[in-house]
């Protein structure tokens, strides 16, 4: 559990005169569920984009899965999974076809994909829907399949950008069960969310505001330190300051 898989030091991103992320420093350990919280516009997305190699930092230092974000973005890409809030799966492909495609772009062999897909279908109990197009599936199923796709190639870290947006509480619960299970097999989970009850499920959380981390730690410790009763209160306390 002690191995560090994400490490940033004074990571900064400027767009012209605007500083989106300022001096970000934190560590994430192997197998940890790390909640990355913050109001809209706090700089979360910019920070994630730097970590997954979509955006080059302006200054500072960061490694992901042991690789430098400046020098080895290609190696990082092989070791992470990413589930974006905007896109999850190709709607005009079936569940199996999505698995095959995404497995393929991560270089999995087709026999391996077949075996893993069969296992997954069995595990999630989706024999009936495996050959259905994604657009025919209810959103709950889509999110579950999307998560399975993101961890299909067994990445060291999976980045989840608001994975449970627009999903009902029951599916959210099932979704978090899947996250726990992945974490048990030592996949590190880096998750952003706006649901503060979900923040409680995380091992550690950080709350960002105006491009910097304002609070970092175990949810119950943080509540104690800031002297609040709930995550909601903590979030308001931090995000309200700028108003």
């Amino acid at each position: 559990m002690d191995k560090i898989v994400i490490k940033t030091e004074n990571l900064t991103k400027r767009f012209g005169a605007f500083t989106a992320v300022k001096d970000l420093s934190f560590e994430v350990h192997r197998g940890e569920i790390f909640g990355f919280l913050g109001a809209n516009g706090a700089g979360k997305t910019t920070a994630i984009r730097m970590l997954i190699g979509l955006l080059r930092p302006t200054s500072g230092f960061a490694t992901v899965a042991g690789f430098d974000v400046y020098k080895e973005p290609e190696k990082i890409k092989k070791n992470i999974g990413y589930m974006s809030q905007k896109f999850s799966l190709y709607e005009d492909l079936t569940v199996l076809e999505n698995l095959k495609f995404f497995g393929g772009i991560y270089g999995l062999k087709s026999e391996a994909i077949k075996i893993k897909s069969a296992e997954l279908v069995e595990k999630l109990g989706m024999k009936n829907i495996a050959k259905k197009l994604i657009k025919e599936l209810p959103i709950g199923w889509r999110q579950k399949v999307a998560f399975s796709v993101a961890v299909f190639h067994n990445p060291a870290i999976v980045f989840l950008d608001e994975p449970t947006g627009g999903v009902d509480p029951i599916v959210r619960r099932q979704f978090w069960d899947m996250i726990y299970e992945a974490s048990e097999s030592y996949i590190t989970i880096f998750v952003t969310t706006h649901y503060l009850d979900e923040a409680e499920y995380c091992n550690r959380i950080s709350i960002m505001d105006e491009g910097t981390i304002k609070a970092l730690g175990n949810p119950s410790e943080l509540k104690k330190n800031f002297n609040v009763d709930s995550m909601n209160d903590l979030f308001y306390l931090i995000a309200r300051k700028k108003i």
Binding site: I52, G53, L54, R56, E74, K77, K78, I80, Y82, M83, S84, K86, F87, Y90, D92, L93, E97, K100, F101, F102, G104, I105, Y106, G107, L133, F159
Partner: protein
């Protein structure tokens, strides 16, 4: 390589599962060829005309017979009543009227010349012009045949009109090369651009870019299916034009295909460039239509002759790739021209392709960073 194939298979699935896309890709070329080939032609075939014959003598009879014998005209009435002409035109029953004056033969005998009047429906300018020329040609023909022997002392200069390469004034020869460039633009520029931009719009591009797949692979995998489809469309158009429109390919088929491939590659590069510079499918479509389709329709010479345009438009037409492709295809298909004739146009298209390739490649690199 395996990853690339995986990618390409996925692209084909996207295409196959969208009936609207399929319709555009395969229905459009067929419909365009058929519409342009049959419906929208300037072709003169069985055009209905009336003859007002005031002369009613030997010469006028012969002349009428000569016109009637021609399969391009159908005389629906021979009359002495001039007043019916306008009514016929208004009702759209006829395309032209010929008026033969009463003194036709006396004029011819005395002064050696006479006049007949040809009236055409000029609401369709091209059509009217071709009919006029046609009737004139028939009459001249008649003159030279029947009068040449008699009027030896006078030298009548008879213009001889020959419609080279397209003696029947068929519409298809002009339209097929035009349709070819339009379809290539549609498939290779618009559909390709849309397919790439679509990934940006639905957000999958971001996911793909965080994967180990090299960005250039993403582009190549998008281009391959549309390249394949455009070659199918090319075959389809050529087959239709040879077997349905009865328009044989005079020149070398190999050269025609090679030139078409060059044009396809040019279009694909333009499509890629558009897709890199835009982020929504609608804008990509608009850019392809306004930036490529409109110039093709208006400035390639396919609908309107470039020689008749204002000088500025003539200059602008030079940067429209389809203008050069249109010239090449026309030369090869209709005139049977070889590479020694079309090499200049080929060079122009090739340099355009190279230019678009460089620009899109550079833009692509800049965008990634």
């Amino acid at each position: 390589m395996k990853r690339l194939i995986n990618f390409i298979i996925k692209e084909f699935k996207h295409i196959i599962r969208d009936p609207r896309v399929l319709l555009i890709l395969f229905g459009m070329p067929v419909v365009q060829v058929l519409i342009f080939g049959f419906a929208l032609t300037n072709e003169i075939k069985n055009s209905k005309i009336i003859v007002i014959d005031f002369a009613r003598d030997e010469i006028s009879k012969k002349m009428i017979n000569k016109i009637e014998a021609n399969k391009y005209f159908e005389i629906i009435e021979i009359s002495q009543n001039k007043n019916i002409i306008l009514d016929y035109f208004r009702e759209g029953k006829i395309k032209a009227a010929i008026i033969i004056p009463a003194n036709l033969s006396s004029d011819l005998n005395h002064s050696g010349s006479s006049q007949i009047q040809i009236i055409t429906d000029a609401t369709d300018v091209n059509f009217a012009n071709s009919i006029k020329n046609f009737i004139r040609a028939i009459i001249n023909d008649y003159q030279s045949e029947s009068l040449a022997g008699k009027v030896l002392e006078r030298l009548i200069i008879v213009p001889e009109i020959k419609m080279l390469y397209n003696p029947q004034l068929k519409g298809a020869p002009n339209f097929v090369p035009g349709v070819m460039s339009m379809v290539m633009l549609l498939v290779c520029v618009m559909m390709t651009a849309i397919a790439i931009v679509r990934e940006k719009e639905i957000g999958s591009m971001e996911v793909l870019l965080t994967s180990p797949v090299r960005p250039i692979f993403i582009i190549i995998s998008k281009v391959v299916p549309y390249f394949a489809i455009s070659t199918i469309d090319l075959t389809l158009i050529l087959l239709l034009s040879v077997y349905v429109l009865d328009l044989p390919i005079q020149g070398s088929l190999f050269l025609l295909i090679a030139e078409s491939l060059l044009f396809i590659f040019t279009c694909l590069n333009i499509g890629i460039l558009i897709s890199i510079r835009t982020s929504s499918q609608q804008i990509a479509m608009l850019m392809s239509l306004v930036g490529m389709m409109m110039p093709t329709v208006f400035l390639s010479g396919f609908m309107f002759p470039i020689e008749n345009m204002p000088y500025v438009l003539q200059l602008i037409s030079n940067v429209v790739p389809s203008k050069w492709f249109y010239i090449i295809v026309k030369d090869i298909m209709l005139k049977g021209a070889g590479f020694e004739i079309v090499w200049k146009e080929t060079l122009i298209i090739a340099s355009m392709m190279f230019f678009f390739f460089l620009v899109s490649f550079r833009t692509f690199k800049v965008r990634l960073n």
